[in-house]
């Protein structure tokens, strides 16, 4: 059954939002932005910048037991902020390169942060081996390193399973590895070549990969997203693509119905609270939508959003409303020498 998705509220932040999390009451969110970490009151649209990384902030998670918001950044650091007074409690250098993405386990015990710089590894620019372990598992309470796990750079997305037993990380080359969180043993994985472009036109190098992942409610499968292959990697016109994989068997189960997708990089996935559908969002390069709701069982598209900006993360609040964050293209400087705000927050209602 098709769903109607209606925007009911929206506002802007100064710079693009690369990641976000909701706080306890779901009335506030922490936004990881290009110019720092913001605490935002959704209804009133008020915001304060509570901290900064030395580069872009890339992810934010909330740990209710400790009442802390933890952010990661392209400075390779993790930062713990108290949500009581916004004070910085701890910061920790985790990677020598960026934290591309960070996740917290569903039981809020573990953090996972992923890194890796894409460097030329051979004549055709396959990625060189990692210079440091690309996946770090940490204790969410004190930042203690639990596991340093190996992957092929750059590792751009990470997610925990619903039972908090597994952690999965996906990279530039479409390779996904799944580990048991307790033991650090790799227990599954797969490689999809459909998300990575090697430039036949313009450049002999690799672009793309997997930008977001989510386990299915039973943890048996992983849904991953990104952008389909491009002949000209600078065009950004690959297919809006998700794939569902049996990560234990390394078997592709289903993927975007070609007739239901346009062009553009997809970099956000969220399971609907009903656990019967999921959303995928990102950038619209060509087509009709840049976020869409898909039936989890059939994979059919059942609703769309055309936001007009790049979507980087999607969250659901207690009321089942969808919170979409991201950013427009950075505008040119205005006459007063300042940049217009280009971070975006929107709230949608999904109706049957």
């Amino acid at each position: 059954m098709q769903r109607t998705i209606t925007r009911i509220h929206d506002f802007k932040l100064p710079t693009a939002i690369l990641g976000a999390c909701l706080l306890d009451d779901h009335r506030e969110l922490i936004a990881a932005c290009m110019d720092g970490v913001y605490r935002v009151e959704i209804e009133s649209k008020k915001y304060d910048r509570i901290g900064q990384h030395e580069s872009y902030a890339s992810s934010a998670v909330f740990v209710p037991g400790q009442q802390v918001a933890i952010t990661a950044g392209y400075d390779g650091k993790l930062k713990w902020f108290s949500v009581k007074d916004n004070a910085l409690q701890r910061e920790q250098k985790v990677h020598s390169f960026w934290s591309w993405d960070m996740a917290v386990s569903k039981d809020h015990r573990w953090l996972a942060s992923v890194t890796g710089q894409y460097l030329a590894g051979d004549y055709k620019y396959a990625p060189a081996q990692e210079l440091e372990p690309c996946v770090k598992i940490l204790d969410a309470a004190d930042g203690r390193l639990i596991h340093a796990l190996s992957h092929v750079p750059s590792v751009q997305s990470v997610v925990f399973s619903h039972n908090s037993q597994y952690v999965a990380a996906g990279n530039l080359m479409g390779q996904v590895r799944v580990w048991d969180v307790q033991s650090g043993a790799q227990v599954g994985g797969f490689e999809s070549k459909d998300f990575t472009s090697w430039g036949i036109i313009k450049s002999h190098c690799y672009l793309g990969g997997i930008f977001a992942m989510e386990f299915t409610p039973d943890d048996a499968h992983l849904i991953v997203c990104g952008m389909g292959d491009m002949r000209d990697p600078m065009a950004g016109n690959g297919k809006q693509l998700w794939q569902r994989w049996d990560w234990k068997e390394g078997k592709l189960i289903s993927q975007t119905n070609e007739k239901q997708s346009g062009e553009g990089l997809m970099e956000a996935i969220a399971l609907h609270p009903s656990m019967e559908s999921f959303l995928m969002g990102g950038r619209l390069r060509g087509g009709e939508w840049n976020a869409a709701l898909f039936d989890l069982a059939s994979g059919e598209r059942i609703g769309t959003i055309k936001s007009g900006y790049r979507i980087t993360q999607m969250l659901f609040n207690h009321q089942g409303q969808l919170i979409v964050v991201g950013g427009q293209g950075q505008p040119g400087k205005s006459n007063d020498g300042k940049f217009p705000d280009f971070g975006r927050v929107e709230i949608y209602e999904i109706n049957s």
Binding site: T15, S55, Q117, A120, A128, K202, S203, L265
Partner: protein
């Protein structure tokens, strides 16, 4: 041919008569152009703006020139910044690739029907040795596609100078075919056949005053030259340690080959790799790989040339056709920007350790000493000892100058 199995580490080993080799490697100004096609970002290379909204996610690091910082993606160049010179105030007109490539490789806008020769053709004509078996203008580009660059490559390179000053192309799918003598043909037989062909065709050329025969003979001479230096075009014959030092990517490998060709008698080598710098999408995701590769190539190239005593005679240029926007687009990319961008040079005739011009704190505008393509080319020509003001009077065409507009070179960049 003994050269076929010899190490190309030594030029003398390429030729059976060392005297010919010495004659071929005449001392003179030479040039390597690292053509960063697609246009690299000045923010992630020579003109970082750390801590600003336009600066991007990468930081800046100090260099061997006090007070001068470059992108953190260039740690090796930071250590030899006193040997490089950088222009941070390039400001040019074309903001589309084809036109930008035209202007930044030829030095000026087109003036149909006149086709201005590309830099390599001018240098080959002015400084090259036509009797050398080694091609004087070589384009190394392993990426046969490249959109606008492909169209450009199909065009007229040497302009009015004539096709003999056009480049010999090599690299990747441009491998030069049939330049190795078959084993079934002895060297003696090969030379005898060539002598007979040459005698007959020269006689025909002279008797008939045939331009076609003259062109035919010129082509044979060129092929003969290529055959004699075929190992120079074989990446596998480059020293393994050098190949490791330069890095595994195709651009790095051909940059090393450029050094080798210059060492062995070529005058101008242009190295490109399609147009990978055109990062309208995934700007930072691509520059995180491309810039460190360039950083290492420049470091190795400058160090090698200096170590061999060749840097004072060899000009190394690293540039693209323009820069990239201070702002990011929605696709994580930076778009074309020609108003304020950067390029680097080192070696022959260029004063080391100079940073020319500057841009405003967010990199939107040039605020000091804007440099356009004409002044850049006047400077390059002067550094190479070529008169930028030379005048050409071509039949039925207006008078042209090597560099138009009576512009002055950038004196602070020139030695002496």
């Amino acid at each position: 041919m003994a050269s076929g199995i010899a190490s190309v580490a030594s030029f003398n080993a390429l030729f059976s008569v060392p005297a010919i080799a010495q004659e071929t490697i005449k001392r003179g100004k030479k040039c390597i152009l690292l053509w960063l096609c697609g246009a690299p970002s000045q923010f992630e290379t020579w003109d970082p703006k750390p801590g600003t909204i336009t600066g991007g996610p990468f930081g800046a690091i100090p260099t061997s020139i006090p007070g001068v910082q470059i992108s953190q993606l260039m740690p090796k160049c930071a250590t030899i910044m006193h040997k490089l010179s950088v222009i941070r105030s390039m400001s040019t007109e074309p903001s589309e690739h084809f036109q930008g490539i035209d202007v930044l490789t030829r030095g000026d806008q087109p003036r149909p029907p006149f086709t201005r020769p590309i830099l390599g053709s001018v240098v080959a004509e002015q400084l090259g040795q036509l009797d050398s078996p080694v091609p004087q203008f070589i384009l190394l580009d392993p990426c046969p596609e490249g959109n606008e660059f492909k169209s450009f490559k199909a065009g007229n390179w040497a302009g009015w100078l004539g096709a003999q000053y056009g480049p010999v192309r090599s690299g990747g799918e441009y491998a030069i075919p049939d330049i190795v003598r078959p084993e079934s043909l002895s060297q003696l037989d090969h030379e005898d056949r060539e002598a007979l062909r040459k005698f007959l065709s020269r006689k025909f050329e002279n008797d008939q005053r045939s331009q076609a025969a003259a062109g035919y003979n010129a082509a044979f001479d060129r092929v003969k030259g290529l055959m004699s230096c075929a190992p120079l075009f074989d990446l596998d014959k480059l020293p393994q340690e050098d190949r490791r030092r330069y890095g595994p990517g195709a651009f790095a490998q051909y940059a090393l080959q450029a050094r080798h060709l210059i060492e062995n008698g070529s005058t101008f080598v242009m190295v490109a790799n399609g147009m990978p710098w055109d990062n309208h999408v995934f700007q930072h995701e691509m520059h995180q790989m491309l810039v460190p590769e360039l950083d290492n190539i420049l470091f190795q190239l400058i160090s090698d040339l200096e170590e061999r005593g060749m840097l004072q005679d060899t000009l190394v240029i690293a540039m693209g056709e323009f820069g990239r926007t201070p702002w990011l687009n929605e696709a994580r990319g930076r778009d074309h920007y020609s108003k304020a961008w950067s390029m680097a040079m080192a070696g022959a005739g260029i004063r080391p350790g100079v940073v020319v011009g500057q841009t405003d704190p967010m990199g939107f505008e040039v605020t000091d000493n804007p440099i356009d393509n004409r002044r850049l080319f006047a400077t390059i020509f002067r550094a190479l000892g070529i008169d930028p003001k030379e005048q050409y009077d071509l039949p039925d065409l207006p008078t042209f100058h090597r560099v138009e507009g009576n512009v002055q070179p950038i004196e602070e960049l020139l030695v002496g």
